[in-house]
């Protein structure tokens, strides 16, 4: 077991928990969407840590492909969430 995996693995868990806490505690939509993205970043970090095998070894490409997919899906979901939040505010102002 590598020190690198432990360090980044723990960092990934911290990001996930911090993000989740933010989602639960914030009241503004934008702050929640941001926190959700931090939460997702933690999951991505865990995936990449699981793929890592050490300095001289080729990492596992399958989790990398999944995370790449995840990054693009996360940004699309963020865009949709932001558009919905904007619409909600417009309705509130009317």
């Amino acid at each position: 077991m590598l020190a690198t995996t432990i360090i980044y693995g723990f960092a990934g868990i911290c990001l996930f928990v911090l993000g989740l806490r933010g989602v639960l505690l914030h009241t503004t939509a934008l702050a929640r969407i941001l926190a959700l993205n931090v939460c997702g970043a933690g999951v991505f970090l865990l995936f990449v840590v699981l793929a890592y095998r050490g300095a001289g070894m080729t990492p596992d490409p399958v989790p990398h492909a999944l995370v790449l997919t995840g990054i693009v899906v996360a940004v699309s979901a963020t865009a949709l969430a932001l558009a919905l939040a904007r619409r909600l505010r417009e309705i509130d102002h009317d």
Partner: protein, 329 residues
């Protein structure tokens, strides 16, 4: 000695990342949170490079930090005046959430240690390395994305498409910015051609080195963001009909390729080995254009100017007219 230095580097990088995430999430000032989030994306890109995932480092810097940052900053503009959160009177629930978070942290850490101690599970990496020769590309990540797990990528394009349809359906785009200063316009004029070339390079190089459709698509979307910031209202998108075609091009070409290999007695998306490289490149070109269009429309935040006219059917207009008259009376 050098090993110890690496551990130190890892500790500093991981610590910085977690610290930045903490402040970004905990701050009451939205603007600060968003800017720190962009910084967090860049730190993550460094971590991906450190963990030998250069494809992800490129994608994170371009999409996770770049496009997501641009989206959030654009959204920030709508929030002017609402930045401060109300002082919370929910101390009890805050404590409860904190307690739950600590519990979750401990449980996940234990799970992670457990998973690493029993790490002799099945790995798909060997299978990928074994069959890489048949995939038509040399970059294993591209091979997984567009050949071995092409289904995932096809569905992902569908998810992106659905998300953009959602964005388009909730309302019109944000009003365009005024034309920027001379310096900004000049910068845009210099950067746009360079970015287009970089996107083409990333698309081509994805077959045998880090890069590919997603990174290239994000680069092109960055062009749209830059143009928009420089005061170009349509952000470089073509006319309404062409934009719609571009939006469905990726999924369309992907499905057509997937179906046409079935004529050669193969499964859906099971490319013949000798032309797999060409098919993957064709799909990637189409996917790049679609992803770029989707992200650009997402940045506009709704239907661009000119879409309204086509969207409203005559029936709609009649209904709206009736509603207006009702309002007057």
């Amino acid at each position: 000695m050098s090993e110890l230095l690496w551990v130190l580097f890892d500790l500093v990088l991981a610590g910085l990342t977690v610290g930045l995430a903490w402040v970004a999430v905990a701050t009451r000032e939205l603007r600060r949170g968003v800017l720190l989030f962009v910084g967090l994306g860049l730190l993550l890109a460094v971590i991906w490079a450190r963990l030998r995932a250069p494809d992800l480092a490129l994608a994170e810097a371009a999409i996770g930090a770049g496009i997501a940052g641009a989206l959030l900053i654009a959204a920030l503009r709508d929030e002017i005046g609402v930045s401060a959160e109300p002082e919370d009177g929910y101390t009890a629930s805050r404590r409860l959430v904190d307690l739950g978070a600590i519990g979750l942290l401990l449980a996940l850490s234990w799970g992670l240690l457990d998973a690493f101690l029993l790490s002799d599970g099945v790995r798909l990496a060997e299978g990928v390395a074994e069959r890489l020769g048949e995939s038509g590309v040399i970059n294993p990540v591209t091979a997984v994305l567009l050949n071995f797990r092409a289904y995932d990528t096809l569905l992902e394009l569908a998810v992106v498409f659905a998300a953009v349809l959602g964005v388009l359906s909730v309302g019109p785009a944000r009003p365009a910015l005024e034309a920027g200063s001379l310096v900004l316009t000049g910068l845009v004029r210099w950067l746009v051609p360079i970015l287009v070339v970089v996107a083409g390079y990333l698309l081509w190089v994805g077959a045998h080195a880090p890069g590919g459709a997603f990174q290239a698509g994000a680069m092109l979307a960055a062009v749209a963001v830059l143009l928009r910031l420089g005061g170009v209202a349509h952000a470089g998108l073509p006319g309404t009909a062409a934009t719609r075609w571009l939006l469905v091009l990726g999924i369309g070409v992907f499905v057509i390729v997937g179906l046409s290999v079935m004529f050669a007695d193969r499964a859906f998306l099971q490319y013949p080995g000798d032309i797999a490289g060409v098919l993957i490149l064709v799909i990637e070109i189409a996917a790049t254009l679609s992803i770029a269009t989707a992200l650009a429309l997402a940045y506009l935040g709704g239907r661009p100017v000119g879409w309204e006219a086509d969207c409203d059917s005559p029936q709609h207009r009649v209904n709206r007219g009736a509603a207006d008259r009702g309002g007057d009376a």
